[in-house]
Amino acid sequence: FGLKALVPLIRQEDHESAQTYDSSMTLGADLSSMLHSLGIPRDSKRHKVLYTFQSPWAETSRSEVEPRFFIPESFTNIPEVLQSQSTPPCFNSVQEDHQRVALFQDETLFYLFYKHPGTVIQELTYLELRKRNWRYHKTLKAWLTKDPKMEPAVSADGLSERGSYVFFDPQRWEKCQRDFLLFYNAIM
């Protein structure tokens, strides 16, 4: 029960076998990475982490999990939203619904375009974004529009132009400015 008992812990034996105790449990490890994986501390304030706890092991916390949330009643029964009988509205015909889509802001159009592939709403948002001078880049699979502040320089052969453009980045979910060489056949 004296100090001698601690010597095996302190003397880090070079070969594992002599290790009388599993040091990860006795001396433990530097917890900063584990705390970081828990999101502690995120900033000066102390945030609760257990409400979005994905798993006891960082390795199996592959993805964010839907945290506890609550949709207030007032958010679910909004009558006549976008002149639609039901909430949330549905868009099933290009003819009738395109004027409703014109009410959405850009980000909503981008969200609908990427979230509902192969549907009427994807077609509708495509048409609306074009109307707003956005163009879809076939290989980048991203939307871009001219940077109003400067005119691009058209190339001699007239097949492309170099200039500054605003892209919408669906990964980071934000608009970002880029200098870019745009080939006219790459956009739709």
Binding site: T60, S63, G118, V120
Partner: protein, 47 residues
């Protein structure tokens, strides 16, 4: 000492350890926002 049978069960539990997707909210049918429609092949096909 952990019996071999128990050791094997514990190992298989480690292999099948649920990950966060298993603990995610259950998936149920959601009324589609709009019907299927032939859109350009260049458009993203996965949400």
């Amino acid at each position: 000492k952990m019996p071999d049978r128990m050791k094997a069960q514990l190992e298989s539990s480690l292999l099948n350890c649920p990950d966060s997707l298993d603990a995610d909210s259950p998936h149920f049918y959601r009324k589609p926002l709009s019907l299927p429609h032939p859109t350009s092949i260049f458009f993203p096909s996965e949400p």
